[in-house]
Subunit: 796 residues, 2 copies
Amino acid sequence: MGESSLNLLESATKNIKMEEEEEVEREEEQEIDPESNNPLNQRLIKRSRTLSSSPLALVGEKVSYIESLDYETNENDLFKDGWRSRSRIEVLQYIFMKWVLAFLVGLLTGIIATLINLAVENIAGYKFLAVLKFINRERYLEGFLYFMGINFVLTFVAAILCVCFAPTAAGPGIPEIKAYLNGVDTPNMFGATTMIVKIIGSIGAVSAGLDLGKEGPLVHIGSCIASLLGQGGPDNYKVKWRWLRYFNNDRDRRDLITCGASSGVCAAFRSPVGGVLFALEEVATWWRSALLWRTFFCTAVVVVILRAFIEICNSGKCGLFGAGGLIMFDVSNVTVRYHVMDILPVAVIGIIGGLLGSLYNHLLHKVLRLYNLINQKGKMHKLLLSLAVVLFTSACQYGLPFLAKCTPCNPSLPESELCPTNGRSGNFKQFNCPPGHYNDLATLLLTTNDDAVRNIFSSNTPHEYQTSSLLIFFALYCILGLITFGIAVPTGLFLPIILMGSAYGRLVGMLMGPHTKIDQGLFAVLGAASLMAGSMRMTVSLCVIFLELTSNLLLLPITMIVLLIAKTVGDCFNPSIYEIILHLKGLPFMDANPESWMRNLTVGELVDVKPAVISLQGVEKVSKIVDVLKNTTHNGFPVMDDGVVPPVGQVNGATELHGLILRAHLIQALKKRFFLKERRRTEEWEVREKFTWVELAEREGKIEEVAITREEMEMFVDLHPLTNTTPFTVLESISVAKAMILFRQVGLRHLLVVPKYQASGVCPVIGILTRQDLLAYNILTVFPHLAKSKNRQKRN
Amino acid sequence: MGESSLNLLESATKNIKMEEEEEVEREEEQEIDPESNNPLNQRLIKRSRTLSSSPLALVGEKVSYIESLDYETNENDLFKDGWRSRSRIEVLQYIFMKWVLAFLVGLLTGIIATLINLAVENIAGYKFLAVLKFINRERYLEGFLYFMGINFVLTFVAAILCVCFAPTAAGPGIPEIKAYLNGVDTPNMFGATTMIVKIIGSIGAVSAGLDLGKEGPLVHIGSCIASLLGQGGPDNYKVKWRWLRYFNNDRDRRDLITCGASSGVCAAFRSPVGGVLFALEEVATWWRSALLWRTFFCTAVVVVILRAFIEICNSGKCGLFGAGGLIMFDVSNVTVRYHVMDILPVAVIGIIGGLLGSLYNHLLHKVLRLYNLINQKGKMHKLLLSLAVVLFTSACQYGLPFLAKCTPCNPSLPESELCPTNGRSGNFKQFNCPPGHYNDLATLLLTTNDDAVRNIFSSNTPHEYQTSSLLIFFALYCILGLITFGIAVPTGLFLPIILMGSAYGRLVGMLMGPHTKIDQGLFAVLGAASLMAGSMRMTVSLCVIFLELTSNLLLLPITMIVLLIAKTVGDCFNPSIYEIILHLKGLPFMDANPESWMRNLTVGELVDVKPAVISLQGVEKVSKIVDVLKNTTHNGFPVMDDGVVPPVGQVNGATELHGLILRAHLIQALKKRFFLKERRRTEEWEVREKFTWVELAEREGKIEEVAITREEMEMFVDLHPLTNTTPFTVLESISVAKAMILFRQVGLRHLLVVPKYQASGVCPVIGILTRQDLLAYNILTVFPHLAKSKNRQKRN
């Protein structure tokens, strides 16, 4: 990560923090000093508590409270009972359901993707046909008004739905999915409302001709389907159907959402292996061999569905949805020929892609910060912003083609290529030109984005576009790509980048002209690839997606060179666009690799600047539990027993660390009135009488909702059976880098820090680390000298 | 894993143990009671020590001593200094070298793969041409003797090299690579001798017409190249070249070998994405996004090299190497058509594949055990076994075609298909038939294995083979597939399985006859896929390999169904063939998923049955260190300081756990005479004067080689600067399942178990777990009741 970009990110995050001061403050009232009200201070020393751990995120332009997910197996007595009592049939049921769910995810994603394509092609198709009719009759102003009007209405529908019903449906959704699979539960991300708004909004926004794609939204839709299927309905943690109750945990949901994301990519690009690799490379944090196979099964189902629909539509039953729609990059008829010297233009495209990609990331980040300021002023502002963008887009798309000169049709074209065309799609649009001529800028602008990509990728048409037209197109889509992404409709990032990239790719191809054997259409493809790599920094999945779309192994080497160069150049300047958005949204995402300065900091030092650990006794008074729950926001508490005699012989009066108990389970215990009159351990049957593991898996309820009488306050709760006895621990001397690796690899929510000293009077837990404590940004705010040493190291 | 198979494995392992009693006993003299000679017993209680941890393996039919690899970052003071002092240029050097090495791995693998192909095609080609000459002149006996003689000599060369120079070059090598990437260092696996023997042996064995492939050996050769490049020569841990010194650790070598393995697969099947996925799915234990991209880069280089060679050879400059050799499955000209009812034969093939695959695994396991008995009798026996197998193979290949009836040529064949042929390759061999007729069994038997596959996959030739011929072929290759794999030459497993599978696939296709639209060649492909899935249990990588070879997305759904069914059926009976071989060889491989009974056992219970931990003081006497090193075989020792005053305030006399020191570093300290006259801590400069991190990374030397004078024995060593202060720890109450997940996910060698009690007098480390302690088989020998509870659970 480049230095400049880091500073940029930091200042951005600070900026957001400032902007949302009120909310933070409100939260902080609960947060800042949980101990001030209660005498729970058990640590021996305490320097200062400045380690920021504000669990806030900006999602859908709104600050939300974020929780971590529990990917760790909670091994308390009840859950252990649950596993032991699972019969072989129930295990088979579970496995069977896993595959059924995977099948359904693929099936529904495929169907919805087809429906979106059908809707877009028909709505946009009839819109363009009507506009072309006006133009044919030279009624340009009426055509303009009609075009503007339709686009305005379509965008209005998409935006009003997003603004009023599901703010989380705006944007691509991929960063939030990435965060979810990393262990961050963004609220309202995978609900039924979000999904419906996303589908309708995506159809509206894409049909309106905005500079955005349906690819990102499809990934989000796939994940929504997976999440909804896994929980058997729109309610979190409340699975009612008997067969689904084993899926009522964060691990299985994580696997399902991974399947959903890869199905979405597959549906967008019709690339089954590419979809799997996209999930593996870009989206998922944890990966297992078994998951590989299941995601692949999902994407294969999607491909089958898509193919079936294409075959049905080829017979003309789908309105204006014909050859278009799904097959986006059709360069399979290009005969690829290149010699060694062609490496030069290819390298040039790679470098341009890297430079432009990082510049795009940088500028988009600025624009998004500006948009956040506007969007925060209220729903009306959001709506107006979206509508302003669509008006500007439509005006440019309609007006700019008048600047282009008409080009006479090339008579040597094959018969399959009509010139000029006036129909729904087609490579040579007549627009305002005399018969036998076409307007090359209208070919690119007055069409759907998918068709524009197809036209600019068109091969064996070396003289189709004028340089000036491509330059205008490129400039326009640079501007549109920056101003469109942040508006309150479902926006995909793939297509704008492909459009920009293909424009300069084709330009480079035209400049190279006779010096190369590579087709101009192929140059456009390479340009698109380079900009994607330069901005999104994906490599293998992009490469495979292009490989599957073009079905041409010969393309592989040059695609790889372009991607490698573009990614390397881009990485010199700033992180990938998804990481920038993650930071902007304030999602506590854990990076794969620890920073190098993390090796020089121990978790002991980290724990010292945190508030003291609040621990509970194995058999605890109700009043203490209520007190702790009300006055802290922690989600896990260590459970200890004082004065036990360990079985190791001559030691008396040791402190035993029994484990970690979750806030949710404490609340369950209070709700269920699992109270004892005296301070004693419970028997197994007493626990089983009160709880089942199925209930314990539901994580509903807040402490405020539990009413406890004064008498009950004096009673006791035996926490032992509810405690996870197997928390992961690290020594205080371990470096933050290693703790982070452990945290991420095993997928933890809480990591206990144990002392390296062994003596009576030492507390067995000296701190608890959470995701927030291990984030580089948070650590640097407390230990600024580490950042300095980092910079020094760089200068060396 | 099925129950029966488990029993089978256990009995097998027992059997091997019994067979190698002498070796084990010899080792055990060192192993069994290290403490009997020295009073290092520091644990408070100790029940019995029965947890087996014999670090022995059967590699190349010889028992070897196996060490674990160190994938964990060793954070001691010296290494930390090393990182801090790395300048930006050195970091860039490191990154640059990573890519250069990846490129070289791909380049060399590609070149060697081509050379092997060239050699095989030419040697086998001229052999067959000569034999056919004899047959044309009806001098059958002379032809037979010639055929036998050549095959005998070729096998003799391959076998004598393997037996005398590199026993580890025998077999496919893939299980050992899998084990290496899991953290098990099999000795002499990746040396220069092994690689050269593997290359020559593979050429000899494949040219001799044995029922084995060059695919597995190619994977091994790729890994050897990677390993040799990474260490700059054939010596382990002794990197001399300045630019390579950062690669002198097990992590970077692991990454390189992963690259090598995927290059090998890519070179074998010309499938870049399949190669990457093979490494990801089957071979690698750890995976990172960065690795994905680097392996893909490697495989792309391989593809480019292969393509370049094919183009050169197409112009006829490669002797008999023409269209054959590399393009193995050429079904791209098949028009795939199928309707819903075709799911039935496809499912049948999948079920047969699963059943036969697991049966094959079962029988091969028995044969390998028998072969081990023979091979152990000495080099002569190994050689004789190999030669007996080649004589049997040649006799059958030459003799059986005489049983087949001659078939008249079909005049409706396209002109490109000659019938009958007498040349090097070709689909319709004349053999002993009159003109205008061909011998279908000779087409399959008297040819190279690659050509046999191509012929049996041939499409649009529905009546080419008689049922009886295919049955004979299938029966013969079932026998050959079982008896050939264990002989002392480089054997690949892919091709025998493909041959068997395609035979019954084509048979099913012929039986289905008019009831299906699927081509018989496609049935053969599906049969091959099903048997591979049934035996090797790979899915996604196989699917992608077939996808890339056939370049036909339409095949995807039926291939997936076949693979899914075959794998599911096979998994009901026994583990994959690679796992069986891993167990047979005694390699301590850690499975991805812990067994369910592991949740019911804590590491505390596991540690109780292990010998007590042997720990060292922070400043330790030389005599004690020598004593410990000589009398134990442990590779890591915890370092503790007694009576320290921790900074936590009112506690006196605590025991501090400083960290873990490696045996190799202790030996380095002794070798370098890092001795102190009095018991004190050293200064930083004293350490730096003695050691550099580069030297510390070299792990040579045995304690026996270090001579210590009597005076020195009374001196002290300050172990603090050499100690890894950040070992990973678990609480004693954690379940074995979770400890195993941690161990595998983070890639550990030693895992310290800390007590859950905190009191003076409790030792801060109650045990150290290694790979051996966490293996299911080892645990079950000590806790047999767990196996029972497992069975009980199954019966429920």
